[in-house]
């Protein structure tokens, strides 16, 4: 029922935009910006690039709106465009989406500064730091699953990865996260 409502409201808003009411596109942006923000922010660091990426993503959505076939929710379709655009950006910048070592290296300046303060911070902040150290794809998948509360099937529609792969990546991501957080606390206790 909820899906049907969302589908019909998607159809109404898309029809309005396609009839030339450009201003109605703001409704789509407002309803999907949280999801798009999570994808872009989890996979990129540079603020200027994030600004460009968000504009590119929504421009692609606007340009291709007439080809949207309502096979999925509009938000899922937009999230898929956001994911693909961000992946293309990472590939252009030669930033690996799954390589842990390189990802840590690329954020080493951030980590070094943070390491100085890390033991004084709350566990939630440690979790945030460890999340940011994860490969972009793992970080995005965890965010979509836990924060956006999307199912494995919905994440699969966004990323076009098989559900089994998503499950396996999520298991691995949580394990890395748990081990790294435990490691942090061990150092913290030892230093104390």
């Amino acid at each position: 029922m909820g899906n049907e409502n969302s589908l019909s409201s998607d159809k109404v808003i898309v029809a309005k935009i396609l009839n030339g009411n450009t201003q109605d596109f703001a409704v789509i942006v407002k309803s999907t910006e949280k999801l798009v923000t999570q994808i872009v922010r989890k996979m990129t660091v540079n603020q200027d690039d994030q600004n460009d990426l968000v504009q590119d993503i929504y421009l692609k959505v606007y340009q291709n709106l007439s080809s949207f076939q309502y096979k999925s929710k509009l938000s899922t379709w937009i999230a898929n465009i956001a994911y693909n655009t961000t992946i293309n950006y990472l590939q252009k910048k030669k930033i690996p989406i799954l390589d842990i070592e390189t990802t840590l290296e690329s954020k080493s300046t951030l980590s070094e500064n943070i390491e100085m303060e890390i033991f004084k911070k709350e566990s939630l902040e440690i979790l945030n730091i460890e999340l940011n150290k994860l490969p972009p794809l793992y970080n995005t998948l965890l965010t979509l699953y836990h924060l956006e509360e999307l199912s494995n099937r919905e994440i699969s529609e966004i990323t076009k990865l098989p559900e089994g792969t998503i499950k396996s990546y999520l298991y691995r991501a949580r394990k890395i996260l748990k081990d790294n957080i435990n490691h942090h606390f061990k150092i913290y206790v030892h230093e104390k």
């Binding site: 009839n19 030339g20 009411n21 450009t22 201003q23 596109f25 703001a26 942006v29 407002k30 910006e33 949280k34 798009v36 923000t37 999570q38 922010r41 989890k42 603020q47 994030q50 600004n51 968000v54 504009q55 929504y58 421009l59 606007y62 566990s123 939630l124 979790l127 945030n128 999340l131 965890l142 836990h146 924060l147 499950k167 396996s168 999520l170 298991y171 949580r174 394990k175 996260l177 748990k178 957080i181 435990n182």
Partner: protein
Amino acid sequence: MKNNHLTDENLQAFLLNEIQDVAINNHITECSICSTKLENYRHLMGQINEITPEKFSFDVTTVVMHKIEKYAVQENIKRDLIFWSTMAALMGSIVLLSLPFLQPMVSVFYAKSFFTNLFIIGTGLFVVIFFVADIYKLNNAKEKILFDNN
């Protein structure tokens, strides 16, 4: 003994209710190592759910709508340009094709009196003005509908 412990995947799946197995449940109640691991995962997932979603330093809707409106204006200009270029090309072709017929057409006026010519030209002008006025009126009505919809 090590092999008897539950895997991290099993523990996570059990916690997320992806698997419901009595054997796993029994093992967790008996094995302190696995139950500690499970508690670690429970705590971790609880913490992830507590994270405040990140935001951009800029207003997404403002930035995006500025870009979209700019794009829409450019697209309209492009569309108008294509339309008027096509119309100009069409008119040009009509004039070019009708050139051989112009001479005989104009010669019609030579034989008539001044008033007859004035009458023919006046009627022609009147018809053209009527069509232009009608097109202008229709265009205004269309603009009004579009404006009301917005």
